[in-house]
Symmetry: C2
Subunit: 119 residues, 2 copies
């Protein structure tokens, strides 16, 4: 599909940080410590192995995340945020804040509705 030039910027940005799981993967890696594959799985209980693999590969391809393999058995692979990936920090922080306020707003609205309905 053809894309208008303006949209491209958004698409480029969103493609990098969305995908349902990407924001939370990046969020955990932005805490600073490198994390192993199964550590990430434990931090994100509902993600499947496949989804985690897929999204990590995409993030790696975009150089937002770094993958380091230690040639050991059993295998050890560590993922960490790259310096470039850190440039996403303000976006994710803003997004996180806005999302929080948005959820609270919805909650408030719901409560108000329940109030007036039972009146």
């Amino acid at each position: 599909m053809q894309k208008s030039p303006v949209q491209c910027q958004f698409v480029a940005a969103l493609d990098s940080i969305v995908g349902k799981w990407k924001p939370i993967i990046l969020y955990h890696l932005l805490q600073g410590n490198p994390l192993r594959f199964n550590e990430l799985r434990r931090l994100i209980p509902d993600i499947t192995q496949r989804m985690l693999t897929l999204h990590l590969r995409e993030l790696e391809e975009e150089e937002l995340v770094q993958r380091v393999i230690y040639p050991q058995i059993p295998p050890k692979v560590e993922y960490s945020i790259t310096e470039y990936g850190m440039s996403l920090s303000p976006i994710l922080e803003t997004l996180h804040q806005w999302g929080k306020a948005h959820v609270e707003r919805k909650q408030l609205k719901k409560e108000n509705n329940e109030q007036t309905e039972t009146d």
Copy 2:
């Protein structure tokens, strides 16, 4: 699907601004002027009527966009950003900036690769 609490914030935020067409719809409406249905179509040439309708309805439901019907024939419907929708402005602006830099970075990388390959 169960969602971990941290992800919810992101999901809540992203659900509101993504959907492939939402960022660009919001971008145009954030310019300030209310826009009619077909004006938006012309500004976003590749969107289909159906997709535009669907996304506008979702944006309306979340109170990010306001829909005003003028009872005329032929019909006139104007869409504008709500005050709440304006709170997305910094996110979209940051996203837009980052996306732009990201595209340029990729372009640069591509050029460099082509250089070294022909050397």
